[in-house]
Symmetry: C2
Subunit: 118 residues, 2 copies
């Protein structure tokens, strides 16, 4: 299956530095130096994070003289979200249970056993 893709995608997202890099790239292309600037981290450290993101397919890189501008590639984010979306009913179910509970409390308070329409 696409299990390897999900492995790499979720693993890449499991690091705050890499998520911050993606957030920065959401504003547009950036070079390695630009991406490294906000972090108290060496340039090779950032380059390693970029390699992880690239291998996960979350970014791509161009060429501009010495620079290797990075660009966000969002389709793997969609793949991850599609996986999560399969569970949407389970957290909505939690809200439903809470809603049901609140409804029961309201019914008890009114003493009629009738529930108002939502």
């Amino acid at each position: 299956m696409a299990s390897d893709i999900l492995d790499a995608t979720f693993a890449a997202l499991a690091d705050p530095t890499r998520r911050a890099i993606l957030a920065r790239l959401a504003e547009g292309e950036a070079t390695v130096m630009e991406l490294a600037a906000p972090f108290a981290m060496s340039q090779p450290g950032v380059s390693k994070h970029l390699r992880v993101l690239e291998r996960a397919g979350l970014i791509s890189r161009g060429r501009d003289a010495q620079r290797r501008p990075c660009r966000l590639e969002a389709t793997r984010l969609k793949t991850a979200m599609d996986w999560l979306a399969d569970y949407r009913s389970y957290w909505e179910e939690s809200y439903q249970r809470l809603d049901d509970l609140l409804g029961e409390l309201e019914a008890d308070k009114s003493g009629t056993g009738e529930r108002e329409a939502l």
Copy 2:
């Protein structure tokens, strides 16, 4: 921020065994033995995965005699999806670019420079 939560959640999801466990729990509660059955893995191995899922808040555990039934807790999945949803426009943008390109090609073919309404 909730950065630690996202770290733990995405890290927990970055393993196919753990994702399979969540998929199983989507069908209802299950004991450790039941969860371990499909995998060519020792029981302590599965217990370790369950500990990772529990620390990430993705499952909770009850008590039934010797058994510790596991239950899916979906709210952290929602948290992860909410993070991903912030990027939705970027993958939709890709479709938009593709759509624009196809539109241009169609316009070129017709030779009028006018685009048909979608």
